[in-house]
Symmetry: C2
Subunit: 195 residues, 2 copies
């Protein structure tokens, strides 16, 4: 028997929708303008929300941007669950795709800012660990990897590190053509490694 959730009031629905708009606008803003150009005001305006309403949901700039990267990362991971797992190249390409869009660009700006901003540092370390664990879990599931076999855990970790590196290589130029060739080759190598 499931837990019965009380029906949401229109006010709760509106509040939830506002929150989501803010989170999505925050990731887009960070990806486009970097940390220096991303404030609660800029995001509120982009989301069509008053500054007061934005601050009600997210009292500080750090609250807003860490919550935004976490939320969008969850959405992206969740979307991967429906993926067809029969084609390994397709799976590797989708995993690498987690690191080549606006989400990774936003996360990268946040990571790098955290290196020099004490008020971000601890929160981003926590966020990185959480998002990293979830990406690893999804990768193991999609690749059908058996982590009880020695080396398999590190094979999957290395693949996700490679995906992160490919994301970095895509920051200033469109690296899609080279990336597809690397993905194709490493999908073959992974097939052998995970057999």
């Amino acid at each position: 028997m499931g837990v019965v959730t009380p029906p949401k009031t229109p006010k709760q629905d509106r509040s939830r929708a506002t929150r989501q708009r803010l989170l999505e606008a925050a990731v887009a803003c960070l990806a486009e303008h970097g940390w220096a150009g991303s404030t609660v005001s800029v995001v509120a305006e982009r989301a069509g929300v008053s500054r007061g309403a934005a601050q009600h949901h997210f009292p500080t700039r750090e609250d807003l941007f860490t919550a935004a990267v976490e939320y969008v990362a969850e959405q992206r991971s969740f979307a991967l669950r429906a993926l067809d797992r029969s084609d390994r190249r397709h799976v590797v390409s989708a995993l690498v795709g987690l690191y080549t869009g606006p989400l990774f660009r936003a996360a990268l700006h946040l990571w790098v800012a955290a290196a020099n901003e004490p008020q971000l540092h601890a929160r981003v370390i926590e966020l990185e660990a959480k998002v990293g664990r979830e990406s690893h879990r999804i990768a193991v599931e999609l690749l059908g990897a058996d982590e009880s076999v020695p080396g398999v855990r590190e094979t999957v970790q290395g693949l996700l590190d490679m995906a992160r590196g490919l994301g970095l290589a895509n920051l200033l130029t469109d690296d899609a053509a080279r990336r597809e060739r690397v993905v194709a080759q490493w999908a073959v190598l992974l097939d052998e490694a995970l057999r």
Copy 2:
């Protein structure tokens, strides 16, 4: 018969030494304080050079920091030439090492700043291409990889992308223990892939 270089005057030697001190101080400053905290004045002070002398060598902030990353990257690549190539794990570890020290941290700050600073953008793209080509060349040489074999080029590229991803994972926390395990496993995969 070699070309005879005229002997350097003490003044030229001093100028060259000043330039090197500035370049090394610039990389250290960028690695520690990020782009926002790195100016020609801060670097001049760190190097013990007057601001005027620093600007004589590097008229703009962009000149100084792109030259610094290029210089230190060249030094690091050059140092790898003497490496013992018989142990693949040792070679992979050394290549990954190119991406986990202050040089990579400095380069990362410059890459990310370039995403939002038009006056840096084109210069960092050029720098990235140059440093990337050199890292690839060194990797091929150290791994004894035969790029005429289909797939080998992409295998080496993927390894360097992984190294870049491992560098990123080391930005906020000390990731050395996990990194060593990934390097050990991927050295094994490379052995099979390059055989």
